[in-house]
Structures are given as C-alpha cells and as structure tokens.
Amino acid sequence: MSQPGFVERLLLFAREDIQDSVRERQAHLLIAMFALVGGGLAYAAGQQVQRWANREGDFVVELMPQLLGPLMFLVPLVALGVVAPAIVEKRSTGALTVLLSLPFSRWVVVLGTLIGRLVVITTAALAAIAIAIPIAALFGVSVDPAQVAAGVFAVVLLTVTFTAIAVSISAVSQTSTRASFAAIFAYVLFVFQLWSIIPIYVLSGFEMPETTPAWGEVLAALNPMAAFSNLLAAIPELADIGIHGTAENPAVYEQPAVALVILLAWIAVPIGASYLRFRTADL
C-alpha cells in the first residue's frame, strides 16, 4: 500500500486542527463573537442613517468603512491571542510527542497548524461581514460591492498575516507563558506602532523629532498594520481607515502594491524562520 504524501498529511493535520477547535467550541465562540461585532456595527450604521435621514442634504452611509476600522484591531488581537498557544501548548502537554510519533514532519506541524487556524479565524472574521451585509441592507446602509470585495480581501490578508506571526511565535516558544507574552508584545508593537515610534525616538536622541526622518517613514510603512491601511487605500473610500492615514501622494513604499508585498513578507518570513528553528528544537 502506498503511504500518503506530503500534501495528504498536511491536509489531514489541518483538518484535525480544525476539528480540535470545533471540539473545544473555540470555533463556535469565535464565529459568534465576530458575528455579534459585525451585526452590532451594521446596526449602529443603520441608526446613523436614521438620524441623518431627517436632515437636509444627501447623506450616504457606507458599510465597509464602518466595519473595517474595528475589525482591523480585533483581527490581530484574536489571531495572536487564540493562535499563539497552538503549537507550544501541544508541545508542553505532550500531544506533540504523539503527533510526531506518527509520520508528520515538523514542517507539516507548522504549516498544518497555520492552515487549520486560518480556516477557523478567517471564517469567523468573514462571519462579521456576512452578518453585517443583510442587517445593513435592512436599515438602508449603502453596501458597495467593490468595497465589500476589497474589504474581504484585506481582512483575509490581515488574518493570514497575524495568524502566521502567531504560529511562528508558537513554534519557537518554549512555554505557553512565553508565547502569550510574545503575542501581547507583538500586538502592542504593531497596533500601537511602537514598531516605528521606539526606534525613531531612540535614534533621534531620546526625543520625538519635529519631522519624521525618511528612514522612519519607511520603517513605519513596514509595520503590517500600516501596510494593511496602505493596501486598502487602493480603494479611495477606504483610504483613511486604521492607524496610518494615507498620504495624498504616497511614497513608493506606501503604494498598495508594495504594501501587498510587505504583508506577504510578514507571512513568509516569520513562518520560514520559525520553522528553521523548530525543525531542530528539542521537544
């Protein structure tokens, strides 16, 4: 009989990982939480439409800008918080010992965990949009299909990026506690922009300079959260969402295409680097 190949084992591992979060009711909780957020935001947008309907003038409330702002803070939080324990927990309990006694390579463990968690968290994040659309339609909030498409694409990409970072943290951490701290650190680093603020502050002689030096701008654009905003700016109506107000004339490193490359690098580099470390790690 022929042994299953790499792809079959990868899909098996991912499938089992998804089943784990279903068994633990984690998937249910995540979907319910995001659905509630999406529904709530759509309802709030609807209330806004109602209030403005009594005034003069032509007001249009679009759904996606209302939705994407909160989602871009929630997605990294959930991805880091929920996924960071994934591998390290299996490692410290001994479940990984069982899995690695079977013909799963360590690459399958890293990639399979990434795929499995992605399916769960992406489903949950998209549930927010899926619930929001009918509610928005019901309350007269405008739903632009192009914006929805762009929003879905951006949310999926953001989920992949932060899930990849979280899986990487999980693969290289020795204990669950350290993984949690690393995840919190990553969240603060990227979402609160300490990624660029601290180097700029330190290298400018421990004070915030009047004008940000050019290298500081580049560094800021490399932050995955900034890249997310810059990418969304490809759709003008979504340009000013998030932590990084997009410039009138974006520099090369702020172009949507470059932002896409930056986000893809934030997926590939941490996963690759953490695998190299995990491949030879003692259990």
Binding site: M1, Q3, D20, G94, A95, T97, F104, D282, L283
Partner: protein, 309 residues
C-alpha cells in the same frame, strides 16, 4: 542490517543563565547496534539517559554529536520515512485535543495510510469499551494500552517502546509481553526500555544497560548471567545453627559470603559450591528446609550500575 544504530552519540543539555550556566551530559559517547528481528531491552536506573537515547532515535531531540540511523535512514534528515515504518510508544505524551481513544487510533491509521481495523487493534490491547470516551479521562495504564494500539498500526518493522509497562496492572503487563512476542514472531524488531527487570528478562534476546549516560554493557541475558555466575544464593533452615558451621562453610572453595539470621544460614556462592555447602550443614545439624536461587538480574543490575546488592 542494524535496525537501530547509534555511533558516538553524546547529548548535553545546556541551560544558560546570566550568572551561571548549567551543563548536564545525558548521554556520553554511546555506541549501540540493535539487529534486525531481535527484541532488545534497554535497562538503566532512573535518570540513566534511556529516554534521552530514545528521544534521539525518534528525532524528538537532537544529539550534540554523533550519528543515528534507524531502519537504514538518517534520523535527522529522513525521520518521516522512519516513522512510516515504526510504531512508537513514547514517554511523556498526552491526549491530542479532546479526542476519544478510537479517534486517536483512527488518526494513526490515517497518518500511516493503512487499512487497519481500529476495533481489532483496540481488542488486542483490551481497550474496546473505553475507546469511546476522551483520552484526557484515561488512567495512565489505559493510556499506555491505547498508545500501544497506536504503535501497532500498519504492522511496523520496528517498535520503539519507552517504559511500556508504566502504570499497567499485571494483566496489562502480560498483554504487553504477549504482544511484544507476537510482533517479534511476525518479524518486527522490538526495542524497549524499562527499569523493571522481569519485563526485560521475560521477552528480550539481548539487553543493554545504561548508567549515568554511558552504555555499560550489551549482551544476552544468559551470557550476563554467566558473567555474574558467582552469586547464586543458598538458604538453609536448620533446627539450630551448629557451632562453627559458618566458618566451615566459608572455608569451602567458591563461597563468597555467609550470613546467619536466627536459624537461617544464607550463603552466596558459585553454582559448583552449592552441594558442598548443603553437605557441610547436613553433617552436623537437622536441616529443615533448603532453597537455592540462581543469580538474578537484580544482582546483575546492582553489580553493573554500582548500586550495591
């Protein structure tokens, strides 16, 4: 071909600290070859490095230096190919998620791509029944049985069992021994570690004894017995210990030691001295009972690992 081959394997665990570092050598320059088709027992006191050696064979842990080949493959570069043909009962494992026993076995079957019948495997380890509830609730012995069932998936060429009888009741231990023999009859090589000598004695062709991270000896049980042939034990119960008897016995050629305890005389001697010892007492006292024991592995173990008899 050797099923398992360790060459010059050393493992040092380093714990780096700011003020002082701590280095522990778990294995020191271990050479070991386990032949195809044999049952090999890996013995050693707690902390001897048995689990570390097994972890290295399974690529759970990287050796600091040395080379390890299992089933002809290099462990570090080709571990998946090894695990396709190896059944493992590891140490320090835990349930994978909230799976039931049966789901664990099914996972192993799918990962190995075989068409084993989960019922048949569970039946073999007497686990039909408890297989339908989560492994997290299993007792240690039940988990051991389940792990054995997983190890048996796909008729592996090699079984690596780390302390398989831990937590097993006598029935479980017997089942374990029976399965080891059955698998070996089928042609599988079996490598297992234990600190329980009877387990090893009952099923092993050869044993290796590890102590303090070094392989002290590798030999067949019979040969090891011969090596320590001098420590047979004769116990005589007399109506009363005759005056001068201990001295007379001690003078017999081949006697190592004589102890008296009330009406008992205990003699440690070579096999050839047994009859003269009994005769020496029989002449001067009424001997009510005589028992002799062969040198036990217990003694052997104590001798080789320097633990004292």
């Amino acid at each position: 071909m050797a099923a398992i081959e360790l060459r010059g394997v050393t493992k040092r665990y380093e714990r780096r600290g700011l003020r002082r570092s701590n280095v522990v050598t778990a294995l020191h320059d271990v050479d070991l070859a386990v032949e195809d088709g044999e049952v090999f027992g890996f013995l050693g006191p707690n902390g001897a490095g048995k689990s570390t050696a097994i972890d290295i064979m399974l690529d759970y842990v990287q050796p600091t230096s040395g080379a390890v080949r299992v089933l002809g493959h290099d462990v570090q570069t080709n571990s998946v190919a090894i695990r396709e043909r190896t059944g493992v009962l590891p140490d320090g494992y835990d349930a994978v998620g909230e799976r039931t026993g049966r789901e664990h076995v099914e996972l192993a079957i799918e990962a190995k791509g075989t068409n084993d019948n989960p019922d048949a495997l569970l039946e073999r380890v007497d686990m039909l029944g408890p297989d339908s509830y989560p492994v997290e609730q299993y007792s240690k012995g039940m988990a051991q049985r389940l792990m054995l069932a997983m190890a048996l998936v796909g008729e592996p060429d090699l079984l690596i069992l780390d302390e398989p009888s831990t937590g097993l009741d006598p029935n479980g231990a017997r089942t374990m021994r029976r399965i080891v023999r059955e698998e070996n009859d089928r042609g599988a090589t079996v490598f297992f570690s234990s600190h329980i000598l009877e387990q090893v004695e009952a099923v092993c062709d050869r044993v290796g004894i590890l102590d303090g991270g070094e392989l002290v000896t590798v030999d067949s049980i019979d040969r090891l017995r011969e090596t320590i042939g001098g420590t047979a034990r004769v116990t005589l119960e007399c109506s009363q210990v005759p005056n001068g008897a201990p001295d007379r016995i001690a003078a017999i050629d081949g006697v190592a030691s004589v102890e008296t305890n009330g009406t008992k005389i205990q003699v440690a001697c070579e096999n050839r001295a047994k009859a003269p010892v009994i005769a020496a007492c029989h002449d001067s006292a009424t001997v009510t009972n005589v028992s002799t024991t062969d040198p036990s592995l217990e003694d052997l173990f104590a001798t080789v690992t320097g633990g004292g008899a």
